[in-house]
Every structure is written in C-alpha cells, then in structure tokens.
C-alpha cells in the first residue's frame, strides 16, 4: 500500500527527432506537475483534489493539448472537454464543447458535485460555468501559434479525408506528424491513489486536430477515456474513436475484477489486444498503490511516482521493457 500518482501529456506519434525546444518544456512540465501531485498527496489531500489540481496545471501549460494549447477544430476554434471520477463513490462529472472556461476539469468537478447530472455540454455547460462563477476568458486565450500552424499543416495533408460524402475508415487513418515531430493527438490526465486505497481519475483535452465542430471524443465518456472504482483509476489518451469502441478505461478495471488480472497485466492486455496499434496509451494506479503506463504508440509523455520513492519520466518506451 501507499500512495501513488501517474500523469500523462498525450500519446501519439512523437518523433524521436523532436527538437529540444519542443521536448524540454514538456519534460519540465511533467516534472513540475508530478511534484505538485506528490506534494499534495504527502499533504493528505484527497485523490480527487490531487487529480484536479494536476490536470489544472497541465491545462494551463500551453505545450499540451488541453486548456491553453488545445488543438483546433476545422474552423480554427477551440472546443474543450474533460472528465473526473471518484473511485470511492463512482460519482463522476464531464463537460464538452467548452470555449471560454479556463479549467475544463474544474467545471467537470462542479457538474459532479453541484448538479444532479453527470454531463453538460456546449452552450448549457458554458452558461452553467458562468452561473457557478468559474473563471472564463476570451476564446483566443487558448489558441497558440503552434496550433494554428498544426491545423494548417494537417488540413494540407488531409485534404482528401474530410469529404464527408465518402465512407471513412476510422482506425486506419494515419496520423500526420507535423514537421517538428509533434503528434496531432493527445490529451492530459492524472490518476492517483492515497494511503487508504481511495482512487480518482481526471482527463482533459482539446480533442483531435481539425475535428468537426461538435465532435466529442473519448475523454468525457465514462468508461472510455476516464474511469475509477475501488480497484483502479485509469486515464487514457490516443485516438478517441478507438478508445470509445474499446471502452478502454473500464476494461482495465473489468479485467482486474472479473479475470483477476493484476493492474499491469490488465492494462497491457487492453493496450495490446483491444485497441489497434498506434492508437492508445494510458496511465493507471491500483488501490494497492501500483502504477502502470503502457502505450502502443510511438511515445507517450508520462510521469509517475509512488510512496516508496520510485519515480519515472518518459516519452518513448523505456529501455528495460
């Protein structure tokens, strides 16, 4: 037993030749956010507070695809979504289609705690945010030059695929990394467990580059991108459509519960067998304080720590695996 925390900044085709000026701020952010989470756990904050805190920090960082730095829709706008789940009670909150709310994850938490509903979206969610006094800003706050460029490059490369009159292959679509080695997909997330085995998970994202306006991904769907119960907490990232179909986060917990697999084996099974290659990564912790961070993409920005002093940071597969 003991506490444990893991967080991610997105899985995808992260090229090993990514230039240092792109890589270093993200690595620094992962370390910083991990430290914040660890300090909070040491200060006995609840896992729910910890995951919200860490994801807020990741949302505020412009280098990840959530909050500020979110990727853009096909119209060059931002539509953010997030989800939070308390493993102990299985209470959850989710939001989609946010355009002005600074911290989507906090709105998701307010939906969970202050409404009889679980999921609010678009205008209704924005209105609710204002009623609850959450911080909102002009939408331009979230848009970064890097993402404007990313959208442009993506549109150029994918001209053919947006013709909606043609049937479209969902899983086989190849990602197009931009010239600087960045992946067009990603999400941020955090999972944590305290000394008493209480678990929580939180995920937040801007979605998929060049997505259709109104497109909802896996992040706000309980059981797909986010899940927590009394066994484990999971936050997934990757190709939303594949994660939804694979009910990824729920399946990790289901394999543990129904087949008695360990956290590590359950997570590996889901990542290796239930979702096609190059589509998914996840972070998960168990009630016993274990951590696992498998992915089947080129890389996943990730960090984890456990009470016994173990820490791990990474982008590409670890050498010893």
């Amino acid at each position: 037993m003991g506490w444990a925390i893991a967080l991610h900044g997105g899985a995808g085709d992260i090229s090993p030749s990514i230039p240092p000026e792109r890589r270093q701020p993200r690595e620094a952010a992962l370390r910083h956010c991990l430290q914040i989470g660890v300090d909070a756990l040491k200060a006995q904050k609840s896992p729910l507070d910890v995951v919200e805190l860490v994801v807020r920090e990741l949302e505020n960082n412009p280098h990840f695809n959530a909050g500020k730095g979110s990727v853009l829709t096909t119209e060059g706008t931002v539509e953010m979504e997030a989800c939070i789940m308390d493993g102990k009670t299985k209470k959850c909150g989710a939001v989609s289609g946010l355009t002005t709310v600074v911290n989507a994850i906090s709105l998701a938490r307010v939906v969970m705690e202050k409404t009889p509903h679980i999921y609010l979206a678009f205008d209704g969610a924005e209105k609710f945010a204002r009623e609850q006094g959450l911080e909102t800003v002009d939408s331009s706050h979230f848009i970064t030059p890097a993402n404007i460029e990313r959208l442009k490059q993506f549109k150029e490369a994918n001209r053919v695929q947006i013709d909606c009159a043609q049937p479209v292959e969902k899983d086989v679509k190849k990602e197009t990394p931009t010239g600087d080695g960045d992946s067009p997909i990603g999400t941020v997330g955090c999972v944590a467990v305290d000394n008493d085995g209480n678990l929580a998970a939180a995920t937040s994202t801007g979605g998929f580059v060049n997505k259709m306006v109104g497109r909802i991904g896996d992040t706000p769907i309980i059981g797909a991108g986010t899940y927590a119960n009394n066994l484990c907490a999971v936050s997934a990232t990757g190709r939303g459509e594949a994660i939804i179909r694979g009910t990824v986060a729920r399946d990790v917990a289901a394999l543990m519960e129904f087949k008695g697999l360990s956290l590590k084996d359950a997570a590996a099974c889901v990542v290796e067998e239930r979702v096609p290659r190059d589509n998914v990564g996840l972070v998960a912790v168990s009630a016993k304080g274990e951590v696992t961070m498998p992915f089947n993409t080129t890389g996943m920005y990730r960090a984890s720590a456990t009470e016994d002093g173990y820490t791990e940071f990474g982008i590409w597969p670890s050498v010893e695996n």
Partner: protein
Amino acid sequence: MGGWAIAVHGGAGVDPNLPQQRQEEAKQLLTRCLNLGISALRSNLPAIDVVELVVRELETDPLFNSGRGSALTAKGTVEMEASIMDGCGRRCGAVSGVTTVKNPVSLARLVMERSPHSYLAFSGAEEFARLQGVEVVDNEYFITEENVGMLKLAKEANTIVFDYRIPALGLETCSAVVESPIQMNGLPISVYAPETVGCVVVDSQGRCAAATSTGGLMNKMTGRIGDSPLIGAGTYACNLCGVSCTGEGEAIIRGTLAREVAAVMEYKGLGLQEAVDFVVKERLDEGKAGLIAVSSKGEVACGFNTTGMFRGCATEDGFMEVGIWD
C-alpha cells in the same frame, strides 16, 4: 440455439397508476415495432439495419420519450440524443443536442458510417445533418401537448426537489407527488417516466446490434447529456451480445451498464440471462434502471429493478412477449 432474436423497450420505470388505456397503447406500439423488426429479420436484413428501422418507428410515434414526444428541457424545447452500435467490429455512432433532425438514430448511424468521428453534438451534429441531407423539421414538431403539461408538473416538483441549494423538504404539498410516491431521479414517477426507447437484435448470422434514443430527462438543463448516447453506458454491442439500457442516467453511466453485461459474459463466461441478472442486481447500487439484451446465440433477455419496464421480445422459434410489469 442460433436463429434471430429481437427485443425492444420503451423505458424502465412505469407509473403504477398509469391508466389502462395508456398501457394498452404502449403494448400495441411495442407489438407493432416488434413485428416490424421480425419482418425485416425474415427478409434477412442485417442486425444493424433492423435496430435502426425499429428505433425510427419508436422515435416517430409520439408515445414514448424519443423523437416526437420527447421530454422537454427547462426551456420547453427538445434536445434529443441517440447512439447505435454494430457488434461487427464494434463500430459506433452517437449524437446529442439534436433539435431538428426527425430521426436521431439515423443521424447517429450516419456519424458512424459517413464521418471520421464517433460522436457529434449540438450545432456540429445539426450541421452534419444538413450536409448529409437528412430530414429536418422545426423543433415544435417534437413537442406534444402532453409533455408541455408534464414540464409544468416537473417544474412544480423540481423547485422543491432539484434546487440543490435547498434540502428536499415540502414535497408533500406538490400535487404530482400526492398521486404516486415512487420517485426516480428525484422526481415523482408520474412526472418523470424515462421512456427512453431502444432495440437490440441478433440476426440469423449471429451478428448483434443495439440502438437507443431519447429526449432525456424532463426539465433537464440545456446541454445535459444522459446515458443514451454514451457507448458502454446506454448502448453496447460486440460479437457476443447487444444491449440497450433505460432508467436513471446517472446510475447507468456510473455502472457502465451496457458494457458490463458484455464484460461479464466475456471475462466471466456468464450466459446472457445470468449476465443481465448480475448487472441489474450488483451494478446499480441505489440506482433504478432496466435493460434488454440479445446474444449471438439467438437468446434474448431483459432485467430491471424498477417498477415495470415497457418491453417486448421475440425469437425465431416463435416466442413472442410484450409486457410492462414483472
């Protein structure tokens, strides 16, 4: 074993004081929809086509809470949602916040087949509908007089129950409560009757499919999304089974109910009815819900922990049953 099977539902959680005439109308609609599905299955239509066909019929009829006859938002408008899943390859499509599309389940199918995504909502879904040329109407088309009346009652009950700043007191004075003390989602059952619709089918090739459609919770906040469009919660289908749920959205989402049935079959080797019973008994905690399911082997099952569920089911060997109560 083997052969086709079909089940339909019109919502779990029925007012025990529901007038007899209304009960008859519901049974007739369910029977008609079952027969529609059965003809389609006999003509060898694949499961995915059959579930869409049947749910379209349920949406078009104003009786239940989907398409025309949908529950109203707090603003008195209609916001519909639906999802569909094809057990073959687990392809799926979902829509939320639909306000002018006559058949949300068909829009969900188009999302599955004609867009690079799985789930579209609100203005994006409406825009996609226009691009695809689906039939659209004014929002008023979906609003029935009966539901306008229900909304009024719900607001009356809600000002006491749902105002989350105020503890739930004084409910006894609300006229809606006097009629029936059973509550779901915090509202008296005479006012809140989920009446989400759904259909699950396995065709003679053993392919499963599921579809669910709803107007959502009466007096809901604009933008509120329930379980019906969420894959794994309200709808799920894989190579083993097809499942559609109805009832308290929160309970269904937290319990990832539809996926749960498939998961216990897959990971614990339970049979269909066992899986359904297990999920209804163990996965709902204090929540109230029901579900229908079919297996690739041609079995059909339903389960609910509510007072009644509008449902009907039929299998190729001639079995057919329509019911409301236990």
